[in-house]
Amino acid sequence: MRLYLPIFILALLGFGFASFSVFMGTRLGPKRWNRAKLESYESGIEPTPHPPGGGRIPVKYYVTAMLFIVFDIEIIFLYPWAVTFNKLGAFGLVEMVTFVITVLVAYAYVWRRGGLEWD
């Protein structure tokens, strides 16, 4: 815990500075009410009305998010392996290559099925 203490102190400094600045921004600036100013900015046209339930988002973003999880978990396994590589020896190398190749199979499948195409 002692090692983490300086990080918390810097976090407090940064948080204090950011929240103080945002607070001062609301106090120091002028307040001139104008109905059009509070509309959301859409380059001058009438703002789009809000769709119920927040609207729809292209499914591509969900595919990207799922692929991110797949590869992030691969990274989670790679870090401890890299740090203890010297102790694991040839066993660690063979195991990791096997694991990475199974992930690469999934990757090649996603690529062939067009999961990486954005258009």
């Binding site: 810097l10 940064g14 973003y61 740090v83 690529w111």
Partner: protein, 449 residues
């Protein structure tokens, strides 16, 4: 430095490499002092970078840049910083008020935390106390930076969502997809470094580069990291989340006054942090570059701080240079670079470097040869895939050059494209009322109309 300090320093010279143990015995005021130093450094660097970027971009575009406020326009960012809180702070009617206010604070705070584990130098004496020039170090220090860059994305996404404006939402979605895509390549680029250093602690990684910077041993990882650090910080040519030509300002379209300033600050601090991380992981951290490193005193005392700052600012100049040189890429190009180039290249590179490492460590096992053969096959597959992609691209580009030919149906009969096209050789295309022969710019020949 006093004589006594110098003596202490000389006595401590063999042990100037800080270890994790030296962070466990810190005095409380030293922690506060160093936290204040990091905080002040980040604010000053941001202020300096705003001025530096505008000046350098100005030079690159053949104009002077800001030169009115103070000598060389140095006070321009100060004037900007004073102006921003005096502007009206607008919260749009459609915004989710609480989250709209919290989002910039999240962004800025996380940006500050990321820098805490960066080593600035070896052990020095401050007021006769030996202390490493580094705020904090952990057995998992690099993970702290990765975690903070991930949580920083929450700031952007929440800002875009809470604004209740389509432009903001689009910018936030793009930003989230871009940052998580490039984070994978970034995480994979680090694996090779951890493999060589055998640790995630930043001070241990710098210590491991005593005999040579990782830049020389792991050039592919370094190049991949350079790509991802531009993608992670949403800077040109990868600044799609705030591409002003299409999204106004992306996730911070609706922000004004100090809330906008916090996003700006977070962006510049993140730039500094990833540049400092590149220095730490690949460029030897605070170690002196080659000709200077021949001098025995180069890596002791306060000098390393100078080498560290020089390296960081060279990388920051690279950011400005990129911005002055390259146009923005398309979003599908950006995602294709991240998913189809950076990720497979770094995975195969990691396996390759692991085999090399196993060879060097002499594991005494025939399995290494089998793995080496496998990695070789992977390399061949990758080169073949690259070749196939190049051929596909050539095939895709070929018809566009030949397309005018089939569009002409025949003599006396107008071409019939699938959709109505206005005639392309109208006079106003070549200057109004001027015959093509007389105009200053000769009429461009238009075929296929």
């Amino acid at each position: 430095m006093t004589d006594q300090g110098m003596l202490q320093h000389l006595l401590a010279a063999p042990g100037t490499e800080p270890t994790l143990a030296s962070f466990n015995t810190e005095i409380w005021w030293m922690v506060l002092l160093k936290a204040g130093m990091v905080f002040a450094f980040l604010l000053l660097t941001t202020i300096f970078m705003i001025w530096f970027e505008r000046r350098v971009i100005g030079r690159m575009q053949n104009r002077p840049g800001p030169n009115r406020a103070g000598p060389f326009g140095l006070l321009q960012p100060v004037a900007d910083a004073l102006k921003l809180p005096l502007k009206e702070d607008i919260i749009p009617r459609s915004a989710d008020k609480l989250i709209f206010v919290i989002a910039p604070v999240i962004s800025a705070t996380m940006a500050f935390i990321g820098f805490s584990v960066i080593p600035w130098g070896p052990e020095v004496s401050i007021f006769h106390h030996q202390t490493p020039l580094q705020l904090a170090d952990l057995p998992v220090a690099v993970l702290v930076i990765l975690a903070m860059s991930s949580i920083g994305v929450y700031g952007l996404v929440l800002a875009g969502w809470a604004s209740g404006s389509p432009y903001s939402l689009l910018g936030a979605l793009r930003s989230a997809a871009q940052v998580i895509s490039y984070e994978i390549a970034m995480g994979l680029a680090f694996v090779a470094v951890f493999l060589y250093a055998g640790s995630l602690s930043t001070s241990a990684i710098v210590a491991a580069q005593n005999n040579g910077w990782f830049f020389w041993e792991l050039p592919v990882s370094f190049v991949i990291y350079l790509f991802t650090m531009v993608g992670e910080t949403n800077r040109l040519p990868f600044d799609l989340p705030e591409g002003e030509g299409e999204l106004v300002a992306g996730y911070h379209t609706e922000y004004s006054s100090m809330k906008f300033a916090m996003f700006y600050l977070a962006e510049y601090i993140n730039m500094t942090t990833v540049a400092a991380l590149a220095t730490t992981l690949f460029l030897g951290g605070w170690r002196a570059p080659w000709p200077i490193s021949l001098w025995s005193g180069a890596n002791t005392g306060w000098w390393p701080l100078l080498w560290f700052l020089i390296k960081v600012f060279i990388l920051l100049f690279g950011y400005v240079w990129l911005r002055g040189t390259l146009p923005r890429v398309r979003y599908d190009q950006l995602m294709a670079l991240g998913w189809k180039v950076l990720i497979p290249v770094s995975i195969v590179w990691i396996l390759f470097i692991a085999v090399i490492r196993a060879w060097k460590l002499n594991f005494n096992s025939t399995a290494i040869y089998a793995v080496a053969g496998l990695v070789f096959v992977l390399l061949i597959i990758m080169v073949m895939a690259w070749d196939e992609a190049a051929q596909q691209r050539a095939a895709r580009n070929a018809p566009t050059e030949a397309s005018p030919q089939p569009a002409v149906a025949g003599p006396g009969q107008p071409a019939a494209p699938a959709f109505p096209v206005p005639p392309l050789d109208l006079p106003h295309y070549h200057g109004t009322g001027v015959e093509p022969g007389n105009s200053a710019t000769p009429a461009r020949e238009v075929t296929g109309a």
